[in-house]
């Protein structure tokens, strides 16, 4: 019993708003992944060390980021810090929370990648006269990069989908823009179908781009 006529013109009238929302979604995704990638490396190295204060701090971060819902993390940054009198705008609260979340996952990914490279390779590099930095740069990291590449692409998609939670604390990303548009005309089905299509298109573009990059980067092997 579903006698519902889909009226698409009402959706296209709101298309610019949806695109503006999609742009915010993409921005949050890219920025949070970029910052998290930089932040995750020291965390992975600290956890590999296996002892010391930095290892403990990194472990707390990873445990908190991976074992609590992203929604709770967003609430904590926005309302939790707000209760302490520290006010961060919606945009940076979502960016901060998703970066925190990504960093936890990426740190473990990188640690796994580092563990997958046999430790003898480091010794071999050193015995050939390379410095520690050169060994990491020329021997270890190129292999780690290849191991973590596809899980990393996965994490981009995950970050993008998590950003939809930002709508709750007032970020007008794709889900927020959709929510607002559908309430005007009650064309909920149409708007959510289009939003899902946009999410799919963004995720698929990232994955196709990643394939192209992988093909160019790895085919020498």
């Amino acid at each position: 019993m579903f006698d519902y006529t889909f009226l698409w013109p009402l959706v296209w009238a709101e298309w610019p708003q949806l695109l503006a929302g999609a742009r915010v979604t993409l921005e949050i995704t890219i920025l949070s992944m970029a910052v998290a990638t930089v932040a995750a490396f020291p965390l992975a190295l600290a956890r590999r060390a296996g002892k010391g204060l930095s290892c403990q701090a990194a472990t707390i971060w990873v445990e908190a980021a991976r074992n609590t819902p992203c929604l709770v993390q967003i609430y904590m940054v926005y309302f939790g810090l707000g209760a302490l009198g520290l006010h961060i705008g919606s945009y940076f609260a979502v960016l901060g929370a998703i970066t925190f979340n990504n960093t936890g996952y990426l740190a473990e990914m990188f640690r796994g990648g580092l563990n997958a490279v046999a430790p003898q390779q480091f010794n071999a590099g050193r015995s050939l006269g390379l410095t520690a930095f050169q060994t990491y740069k020329n021997i270890i990291f190129p292999q780690v990069f290849r191991i973590v590449y596809f899980p990393f692409v996965n994490q981009i998609t995950w970050a993008m989908l998590n950003s939809s939670l930002g709508m709750i604390i007032g970020l007008r990303e794709l889900t927020g823009a959709t929510q607002m548009a559908q309430s005007v005309s009650f064309r909920t089905f149409e708007f959510f179908v289009v939003a899902a299509g946009l999410y799919y298109a963004i995720a698929k573009s990232v994955q196709i781009l990643a394939r192209v990059v992988a093909w160019r980067a790895f085919r020498r092997a």
Binding site: Y4, H87, I169, G170, R172
Partner: protein, 275 residues
């Protein structure tokens, strides 16, 4: 899945929907009477129109209207919690028979559902913190204001916000009432407009002791209507008669006094025009 395969699945899905549609010629009114149940969609996060009482039972003005409606039909009421975003899908997918959820009756929304004549009316008031020095609606100019994404209150205040064109101010739309009240209480925003009944219930709840109301907002009265499926003229006629009866018998005023406050219940008519 290949494109061709995908296409054939789509065609089969469309065809089965069509058959299902043809088989559903039975009127809603008959179905309600025969099944002896009236399924009402109500928002239970919108006190005092819809909420859960300390016994965790649905309660509120809208819930009472649903029970009255079921009584008038001689059937059992079934309250189905329907959050704001799910209101249209619930009607369209036939999960509920009727939506009694303080829904503002805009012409755009009437493209999608059929609205009855108004059954309740709210007036927006200014809600702010006691330390913002905002004393009336004009005090919101150039301030950080907020609202609930997708609410008609948001649509009303955004109209004013754009016309002020004051670069010092900004607007933030939150996911639900709960987040917007918390943001206001914490100082992330300085003011918002809220329906008078919701504001009174919020302040009476004592949840946020730093929130106060500061006068009326100049937005037009927010008339709310009961909604049914767009093509369901037969049931809509019945709902309109029901609303008229509620007013005529004094039940409207009694429920208004019970949930919204003492005094005369506001008129559901707009002077100078028939509905």
């Amino acid at each position: 899945m290949s494109i061709r395969k995908l296409m054939s699945v789509a065609v089969i899905a469309a065809a089965s929907l069509h058959i299902a549609g043809a088989a559903s010629a039975q009127s809603t009114l008959d179905r309600i009477v025969q099944s002896r149940t009236l399924r009402c969609g109500v928002m239970l996060d919108y006190p005092p129109a819809g909420f859960r009482n300390p016994q965790n039972q649905p309660d509120g003005f809208d819930v009472a209207y649903c029970r009255d409606m079921a009584h008038a039909l001689g059937v059992k009421p079934q309250i189905i919690e329907t959050p704001s975003t799910e209101r249209l899908p619930a009607i369209a997918s036939n999960r509920i028979d009727v939506l009694i959820a303080s829904t503002s009756n805009t012409p755009q929304r009437a493209l999608t559902v059929a609205f009855s004549q108004p059954y309740v009316v709210y007036q927006d008031v200014v809600l702010t913190r006691n330390d913002t020095a905002i004393e009336n609606f004009d005090g919101l100019k150039g301030r950080k204001i907020g609202g609930v994404t997708g609410s008609t209150g948001e649509q009303a205040i955004m109209g004013f916000f754009r016309s002020w064109n004051n670069p010092a101010g900004n607007y933030t739309g939150y996911g639900s009432e709960a987040e917007s009240y918390l943001a206001l209480s914490q100082g992330k925003i300085d003011g918002m407009i809220v329906g008078n009944a919701a504001a009174a219930a919020l302040i009476a709840s004592g949840q946020f002791n730093n929130l106060v109301t500061m006068g009326l907002a100049p937005s037009p009265p927010d008339f709310c209507a009961i909604a049914v499926r767009r093509g369901d003229q037969e049931f809509l006629n019945w709902v309109n008669l029901f609303i008229w009866q509620q007013v005529r018998t004094g039940r409207y005023t009694a429920l208004y006094n019970q949930y919204f406050g003492p005094g005369d219940a506001p008129s559901l008519a707009v002077p100078g025009v028939y509905y």
